[in-house]
Structure formats: C-alpha cells, structure tokens
C-alpha cells in the first residue's frame, strides 16, 4: 500500500491543483448549468422551483415562432457548408502542394495565414464585403461585381432567408481551409515513400496511385479535420455576431444563449447551453474513444 502510494502519490499531488480547478470550474459549473436549466429562473427574480425537463420540451414545442428550431436549422446549414467547403478547399490545396509546386513554403504560409486572424476581425471585414445592397447602393463584393459588369452575380449574401447561413459560412471557410490543408499535407507526408515506390514498380497510373494507395491512408486525417471543424462550427458565435449582430435571420443556438442571458432568462439560456454541449459531445466523444483506442493499439 505504502509503496503504491509512493509510486503515484507525488504525481497525483502535482496534478491535484489542476484537477481541483477543473472539477470546480468545468464539471462543477456544467452541473450547476444543468441544475439551472431545470429550474424556472426566467428573470432576475430568481428561481421558485424545479420544473424537470419543461424548459427543454418548451424549446422544441412551445418557443415563439419556433425560434429554437429555426436556430438549429441555421446551424445545420452553416455546419454543412462550412465542413464541406473547408474539406474540399483544404484537400485541393494540399493536393496541389503535394504535387510539388515551386515555393511551397510561401504558398503554405499564404493559405495558413487567415487562421491567424480572429473571427471578430475578419467578421468586421466580411460584414462590409458581404454588403447586401445592390446596384446603386452596392458595396463590398456586390460593388466589385457591378464594376466589372458582372451585375448578375450580385447577391443578398447573409440576408437571404433560406441560404443566408451558407453565405455566413464563407468567411469561416476562408479562415480554416488553410488549417485543413495543413492537416492533409501532414497526412500526405506521413505516407511512407516505399508505398509509392511499390506502386510505381507495379506500374499503376497516377490516378490509381491516389485512388487506391494515397487517399485511403488519409481517412484518419479527414476524420480529425471533420471533428475539429464540426465542433468549431457548432459553437460559432463571434463570427456571426460581428457579421450580422444578434438577430433572427442568422440566429444560431450560441447566439440565442447570449440573447436569453441578456434578458435574464437564465433557465432557458442554461437549457440551450446544455443542448449545445450534448450536440458537441455527440461529435467529440466517439472521436476521443476512437483515438485513444488507436493510440493503445500502436
């Protein structure tokens, strides 16, 4: 017993401060949020009691104008366009660089650089670029199209009621494609040269090389990229706040949390937060289990 304590005791003691801090400020507060989400604390007056899952049920069935479902729909469109966009752009760029262009280092930096900009800063610029005014009132990209005689390309961007969130994903794609490119590039570089040589000896075409040898090896990288982009997308807040501000048209759950919190509806905002946490956990947890398994295996 003493020996075992000697073995792991000091280590535990060393990490205990961070354990305590995590327990209180992450898991403790998650528990607190869940407690608030099951109370009827709908204003600054405080809670009168426990209401079970009423707040959750109300979000789905009894929200004015189906506001919560609308925000989930917006998030769905945004996430889909964001994930597909970054994966395609990232893969394309990584592929081009992998094929051996000149000045690869330069292009790599150019593509990766948008990631260094904060969503707030780029959001302010994209707000101007995606100005929905047309023709005489055109600004930003619409003005560029107008100036080049491409007036038909003018767009209402994020103010479109159906596909506005797809436009909202453009700045996010622009920022994170470089990151996905870096992931894929690392994936390409991790494939042993022997495999390519063996394929060459077997006389495969370039298409066959990529289709049957290289791309299958990239699946884990693609999955990591999907998870990382996916969970970022679900928590998206700052970009939307700086492009459109908080409003119905572009409302996603994270923005809805903020809106309800500002109107002191603590129970509702806690309930939305918990749903958001569960959504992200559904994406993250299987991934964590999967990686820890593969790490153990290797």
């Amino acid at each position: 017993m003493r020996r075992r304590l000697r073995h792991w005791g000091p280590g535990l003691l060393l990490i205990s401060p961070s354990l305590v801090v995590l327990a209180v400020f992450v898991y403790g507060l998650i528990a607190w949020t869940i407690k608030v989400s099951m109370s009827d604390e709908h204003n600054a007056r405080g809670s009168k009691g426990f209401v079970g899952f009423d707040n959750y049920v109300n979000l789905f069935t009894n929200d004015i104008n189906d506001r919560f479902l609308h925000s989930l729909g917006n998030l769905g469109v945004f996430t889909l366009v964001f994930m597909v966009g970054t994966l395609l752009m990232g893969l394309l760029w990584a592929f081009l660089l992998e094929r051996g262009v000149r000045a690869e280092g330069f292009f790599r930096t150019v593509y990766l650089f948008p990631m260094a900009v904060s969503f707030v800063a780029s959001g302010v610029v994209w707000r101007w670029l995606m100005n929905p005014g047309k023709d005489a009132n055109a600004g930003g990209l619409n003005a560029v199209f107008e100036g080049f005689g491409l007036g038909f390309l003018q767009n209402t961007w994020w103010t479109d009621p159906d596909w506005g969130m797809a436009a909202m994903a453009l700045p996010a794609i622009w920022q994170l494609s470089g990151y996905v490119m870096a992931l894929f590039l690392a994936g390409f570089r991790g494939i042993p040269a022997e495999l390519r040589e063996a394929a060459a000896v077997d006389g495969v075409s370039t298409f066959q090389l990529y289709r049957y040898v290289i791309f299958p090896q990239l699946t884990p990288v693609a999955l990591s990229a999907l998870i990382i982009i996916g969970h970022m997308s679900m928590k998206m807040f700052d970009l939307i706040m700086s492009v459109s501000g908080a409003q119905w048209l572009t409302e996603v759950p994270a923005v809805y949390v903020w809106q309800t919190l500002l109107t002191s509806d603590y129970a509702k905002s806690a309930a939305i937060s918990v749903i958001l946490l569960v959504l992200v956990a559904i994406v993250i947890v299987p991934y964590l289990i999967w990686t820890s398994r593969t790490e153990k295996r290797s």
């Binding site: 401060p17 405080g46 506001r67 005014g133 009132n137 994020w158 103010t159 809106q259």
Partner: protein, 421 residues
C-alpha cells in the same frame, strides 16, 4: 530519497498554487458611510458629460457626501446589467443604479430589490413637477420606485428637407394615409426607398408608432398592461399598414443599424426615418443641418417616452446619501446640469426652454402638452424578456412578411411575459 525529493517538489508546487488563488480572494469591501456609489453605464461621450454635470450639482447640494463612480462601460449597458444582476443576487448592491424607467424595473420590483420612494416624491415636489402621464406610467400598484433623470422621445419622424421639397411635398403628413401619399410621391420622383430603416429593434419602433396611430394613446398603453388584446382587428390592421410601410423601405434593412439608416437620409437616398430624438444630437455632431422633424404621422399629440432613472436598492449602504442623490437627480438644477450636456430633455415641466438647443425646445413644449405613452423597444413599456421576444418576432417578419404569424407571436409574448408578476 527519490520519493522525498519528488514529494517536496509536489508540496511546494501545490502550496504555491493554493496561496496564489487565496491571495486574489480578498477584496476591498470597506464601505464608507459617506460615500454614494452610483452605478451607471455612462462612461464616455455626452452621457459622461451629463453625469459629470450631475455630480457637480450633487457636490453642491449634498455637503458631506462624496460621489463614487461605479460606471461599467460597454455594450450599451449590457455589460453593466450583468454585473448589476450578480451584485443584487449576492446582496451587495451599489447605493444607487441606473435603469430604464418603466416596465424594465418590474423584475427588480417583483424581486423586492428596490425600495418604494413614493413618500419622497411628495417631499421633493416631484408629483407636481413631472407631468401626470409620466407619473401614471411610472406607478406600479400605487407605488413609485425611480427618479427619471432625463426624457427621450421615440416617435419622431426625421426627414431630409431637400429631398422632401424636391418631390413637391409642402405640408408635413399628419396621418398614416397622408404619409402613404407622400411616400408614393417620393417613389414616383425616383426615390426608390423613401423610408430608411435598420434591423429588428428599429422595425419594432416603427411598428409601435403605427400602433399608436391606429389605436390611440390609451389603447396602445393597454397593449402593455394587459387591458388591450393583441389579437384584435385594430392590431391586424396595424400589421397590414406596417407591412405596406416596409415596401417603401430599403431591402437591405436587416444589415443596417440606425446610424446606417440615418446616413441614407443624410445622403438623400431616403427622405424619412423614424428614430428616437438622440438623432438630433447625432445629426448636429455629424454636421448635417438640413433636417426636419415631426411626430410620426397619425401620432397626434402622443409623446412616446423613454427615460434613464435612478433607484434606491434594498440594502444600500448609505440610504441618506442615496436619497440626496435622487433628490438632486429630480431637482430643477440637477436636471438642467444633466440634460443640457446629454442632449435629452428634463422630465420636469418647470424648466427654461431657452437653455436648450432648437430641437429640444420643441420637445420640451410637447412634453408639457402631450399624452405620455411608453416604448417597448426601449424598455419603458415591457420587460427585457418581452422586448427580446418582440425584437425576434419583428426580425422574423422582416423576411417572412407573414402578418398572421407576427400577430400570433406578439400575442404569445404578451401572454408569456405580461402574466408574470
């Protein structure tokens, strides 16, 4: 040996971390009985200047008391409200805090967080100094809880005089019908979007003024206190009128803030804009002189007001000092010191209008003679939750144009929030 050294390192590390967190725990909680902490979100610009003016008056009036600035900047008060909520919940209120007068105070009143000051209203002579309509709007179950420092008017239609006269409009539209005629004339003259507007809350302001035109002052106020139903035919008609008004506005409205809409008027791209009377000070600052103003067509002698006010929180450390602050805020000298700097008008009716700029002089005259109604977009008519729901409903209507859905949403919001006392 190896154990003891590792253990020692671990113990030292833990101790260092714990002591670091312990140090930051102690806070300066010393409350001097003669200090009055005034909690506001007036941290810069005309608002800060107004507060400074008020502090000057306070120092003269309340000898022995010292002002302590508890301003929390940012987010048009959003940051301050969060700080305030946590301070009230932990039982450590400031001596007084800023809040929009009217329904926004209801949460604090119902939570028992602020004190009834009706008796002091008599003592300070405020019952006669303020117009009866304001007193009525401020009273909750026979009690008054706040002293308004200023008054802004929400239902003002601003215009670009040149655009209007160029279109041949010589008389100001006095009813909704006349307003539609004027807008048609402007459209025929090639002004594509004669009425400039911005995102959700500016649309709520416009919708409220249409309601005032169609329902009149009394029934409009009733919408917010539960005596007028939201599913009535007059509300349906107002939604139709509002929908028609939106056809005269800029299509990119949801992307604009009120200052962007204001710029459309300044640039002559639009003729009219409905906005609160802080626009006067803003246009003056931006150097645009050729602007006209009138109450929204059909609003007649209705003055839709909003006000910043101060309250006496329960458990304030220095009640005597807070009361002296409130007395200063309500006094003629205090209101003058504050409002001449902030660009608003005093809530009192016994003021010298010539102390104020041109627009404010007309507003002061109207304030005395008009019927006062509150504003939901600015928190004097409805609680914060109701305001949020109304903004969201108007935002949804802006794209869907579904009048039935808007009426249903507004009625649902009224049931949800008005019932909660």
């Amino acid at each position: 040996m190896g154990f003891s050294r590792r253990a020692a390192v671990a113990v030292v590390g833990v101790a260092a971390l714990l002591s670091a967190t312990a140090c930051s725990g102690s806070d300066d909680g010393g409350s001097d009985a003669k200090k009055v902490e005034v909690f506001t979100w007036w941290a810069d610009g005309g608002e800060k200047a107004g507060l400074d003016g008020l502090v000057g008056q306070f120092t003269t009036d309340c000898a022995g008391q010292t002002f302590e600035n508890g301003a929390v900047a940012g987010g048009a008060g959003a940051n301050a409200k969060q700080v305030l909520a946590s301070r009230l919940q932990t039982g450590a209120p400031p001596d007084t805090f800023q809040a929009h007068a009217g329904a926004e105070l209801l949460d604090y009143i119902n939570a028992g967080q602020i004190e009834d000051i009706s008796a002091d209203y008599e003592g300070w002579g405020l019952k006669t100094a303020f117009p009866a309509g304001l007193i009525e709007n401020l009273t909750v179950d026979g009690k008054i809880y706040s002293v308004p420092a200023n008054i802004h008017r929400a239902n003002v239609l601003w215009s670009n005089k040149k655009v209007v006269t160029d279109a041949g409009i010589t008389t100001a539209p006095a009813s909704l019908a006349e307003f539609f005629t004027a807008l048609d004339t402007l459209k025929a003259k090639g002004v594509a979007a004669p009425l400039a507007i911005g995102k959700d809350w500016t649309q709520l302001m416009l919708f409220e003024t249409v309601l005032i035109s169609n329902l009149g002052a009394e029934k409009f106020t009733g919408l917010w206190n539960g005596t007028t139903p939201w599913d009535g035919a007059d509300v349906t008609k107002s939604i139709d009128d509002f929908k028609k008004l939106l056809t005269y506005t800029n299509t990119d409205r949801d992307a604009l803030d009120w200052t962007d809409a204001e710029k459309m008027v300044m640039d002559g791209k639009a003729a009219y804009q409905l906005m609160g009377d802080w626009e006067a000070a803003d246009l003056d600052t931006k150097g645009f002189k050729d602007y006209g103003y009138q109450p929204f067509p059909g609003n007649g002698t209705t003055f839709q007001w909003l006000a910043d006010s101060f309250v006496l929180p329960k458990g304030a450390a220095n009640v005597e000092g807070t009361k002296c602050w409130l007395k200063t805020v309500g006094s003629a000298a205090g209101q003058k010191a504050f409002n001449t700097k902030k660009g608003s008008i005093p809530a009192r009716t016994d003021v010298t209008a010539t102390d104020y700029p041109a627009y404010q002089q007309t507003a002061i005259a109207d304030w005395k003679s008009s019927t006062q109604v509150p504003s939901c977009a600015h928190g004097s008519a409805c609680s914060q939750g109701w305001q949020g729901a109304a903004n969201s409903a108007l935002g949804a209507f802006s794209t869907s144009q579904d009048g039935a859905a808007l009426q249903k949403a507004l009625a649902a919001a009224a049931t949800q929030f008005a019932a909660k006392k």
